[in-house]
Amino acid sequence: MSSFEYTLVTIIGCGLITWLSRVLPFILLKKFTLSDRVLEFLSFVPIVIMSALWFSNLFTQDLGHLPRLNLENFLASVPTLISAIISKNLLVIVAVGIVSLAVIRVILA
């Protein structure tokens, strides 16, 4: 298999598996209804998933040991969070985040 074919087959495989993860629940839930217990479980998904995605970026993994703090991302999160509380505006929050990290990298470098 050529290098190009290898890359192409991999991309198609990754695309299909991702598509199925997204679409199958939509198809299944056309036919089935989730129980109250499952719905209650899923009601926690928005806050848990967003915080898990955030927190996983605050540390650097070192399997078998305690994770190390990712100082850059941790410090940049502080002004970002403050801007969220003050502005409640995603555009402002993302802009403050990007600028914060760039400034912190300059200071720490």
Partner: protein, 242 residues
């Protein structure tokens, strides 16, 4: 956010997230190009995989010539959370046709999901196809445009990290989390904050022994489970929507 569910409103409400997609999309384009792929192949990855941060993993594994099956598996594990997002949001579109459901699912992202969940707090628990589809389409268009820009200017940027663009997506998660907490009235605030604190502990402790591919999905499943337990033990039962 307001209670209106038309396309113009969706456009306006998605616009702020465009900035986030631009940042991380450009970063992906630059990284893909720097890894030796042609701009068109980099764009094809974004068009076809459309998996945000997981695409960085795909690229790095391609560069290290990992077996195809292990790259696909890693991408699946990182994106397994999409199953949960999709399960959570799909019930709101039960009345729409199968084709529309498949289309909404195809372009679902973390951010469109979070916007949708946030919107529910303003529409008395209603979502519709035109609103959500517009959010999805705008996100998809921005992501791919940003990837192309990144792939084309990739030659001129030697150190993409210097620009802080990689923080765009993290900032978006922080913003969406905060907006969700401040708008959501279905769960008590104290319960939400407790669950977020527990998620922090789960992520931290999980990092010791759970491979990074699996961490998000494991932490999410355990975190939601703990949330249900806490709710039953410490908070009076409430009617669950929808």
């Amino acid at each position: 956010m307001n209670h209106q569910l038309d396309q113009a409103t969706a456009f306006k409400e998605t616009l702020p997230t465009v900035f986030g997609y631009l940042g991380i999309g450009i970063a992906f384009g630059v990284v893909g190009r720097a890894s030796g792929f042609s701009p068109w192949l980099v764009l094809f990855m974004s068009l076809f995989i459309y998996a945000g941060s997981a695409q960085f993993i795909t690229v790095s594994l391609l560069v290290s010539h990992s077996p195809i099956i292990s790259i696909v598996l890693a991408t699946f594990l990182v994106n397994a959370r999409m199953i949960l997002l999709s399960l959570t949001i799909a019930p709101y579109f039960k009345k729409d046709s199968l084709l529309k459901n498949i289309f909404l699912g195809t372009l679902l992202t973390d951010e469109s999901f979070a916007l949708g969940m946030n919107k529910l707090n303003f529409t008395a628990g209603q979502l519709n196809f035109p609103w959500f589809n517009t959010v999805n389409l705008l996100a998809y268009a921005t992501w791919n445009l940003a990837t192309l820009i990144g792939a084309l200017i990739g030659n001129y940027i030697t150190d993409p990290q210097r620009l802080g663009l990689d923080f765009a997506i993290i900032a978006m998660f922080i913003g969406l989390l905060y907006l969700q907490i401040s708008a959501d009235r279905s769960l008590p605030l104290l319960l939400q904050l407790t669950v977020i604190g527990l998620t922090l502990a789960l992520v931290y402790l999980g990092m010791i022994f759970i491979p990074s591919n699996l961490l998000i999905i494991v932490a999410t499943i355990v975190g939601c489970g703990l949330g249900v337990l806490l709710k039953h033990h410490f908070f009076p039962p409430k009617v669950v929507s929808p």
